[in-house]
């Protein structure tokens, strides 16, 4: 729950619900980007995702560092990814 998971924006959905399709750990997921309105996100941007919401825009280098850190936390990251796999916020 406290883990920030990096993802790469693939597509911005224009359905008025602040959703974007984001590649997270190799899987396409819907993520709410309503908290990053001012950032004017575009495909290719990296974001840090908390419980289904993008909380900050980061660069690719930071995304890689965050991923490596997550791999190091072990079960907590595996559990988070499993929870994410069951999530469907569309």
């Amino acid at each position: 729950m406290c883990l920030g998971i990096p993802g790469e924006v693939v597509e911005l959905l224009d359905d008025g619900r602040d959703l974007a399709m984001v590649s997270v750990a190799g899987v396409r997921r819907a993520v709410n980007i309503g908290l990053l309105h001012e950032e004017k996100l575009a495909p290719g941007d990296w974001i840090l995702i908390h419980v289904g919401f993008a909380l900050s825009k980061i660069d690719e280098r930071e995304a890689q560092a965050a991923l490596d850190w997550l791999h190091g936390v072990g079960d907590a990251y595996t559990d988070e990814l499993e929870a994410l796999a069951t999530s469907d916020i569309t």
Partner: protein, 375 residues
Amino acid sequence: MRFVDEFRDAATARALATKIAGLCEPGRQYKFMEVCGGHTHTIYKHGLEDYLPETVSLVHGPGCPVCVIPMGRVDDAIAIAEHPDVIMTSFGDMMRVPGGRGSFFDSKAAGTDIRMVYSPLDSLKIARNNPDKQVVFMAIGFETTAPSTAMTVLRAAQEKLDNFSIFCNHVTIIPAIKAILDSPDLRLDGFIGPGHVSTVIGCKPYDFISAQEGKPLVCAGFEPLDILQSVYQLLLQLKEGRCEVENQYSRVVPWDGNPKALEVIGEVMELRPYFEWRGLGFISHSALQVREKYASFDAEKIFNVPGVRVADPKACQCGEVLKGVLKPWECKVFGTACTPETPIGTCMVSSEGACAAYYNFGRFSRERVKEATHS
């Protein structure tokens, strides 16, 4: 992962350790508190204390939101879940946290409908798909997750959903730090400020720590070198007689935080007069409740919540661990009666709790540092 390799470079860590040692005044003891479970994790996983002089110790604070939820709130949530037609939804982290009458898992086994979700938006979807049920989201977390809960309530209001509510247990970090500073048990020299929380609140709210309490604070990233760099910055401030809030994690944390996130929290929630924290007791204005305007989404208004107070088990010393007075292994039941498989206290339940982090990683760190030193 080439970017990370250079970041995790043990030689760089040792060079930083030498600089840190050079800043320490002979005979002086230094105590710095980190108030983020993620930092605790990094410290144990990489055995960072072994890179520091013996006179510098890192103390773990109340940075795990699961760990600070008092047992009574778990019982209250279970009481809500026991209402007919209620689906209680919760992050997985909360499922094993023991209340006075057992955990969510125990309650689920006894027949209540408690479901794990990844996001509050998943709860919202369950509500949409189950119009004949009342769906409640067990909202927990510091300022990192509060904006997501607030956004979900706003969405529910927009969709005019009448079967979705939240049981709000969001806590705020600043009053907890104030309570720690007021505690007579502990003398601290500075703080390693949280990473993700600061993404939302920014660095300004910490000003009082430097201005009024005379302690430096450095917001830090999660990599081992980030933590060592922050310790270096804290010691440098002390050496130079400065006392400031610094942002070591500026690559993610904006100085002003995330204004939109703060705006939605403020729209949906307000400070409670007081809230009980596990180990810290009642702290005024330290948690959030749903504003009257959104009362129809407030489970505490919709359901009869008993408001139970349950004393922690006598053997459990989570309170002392959360205040940084005890190290995890100094607790009487650590690793014997209390393990991640059979936790007595919250610090052992959550993977970000200091006890679970030390149990899973810390015991092996010293050996690894030895290996790194000889490689």
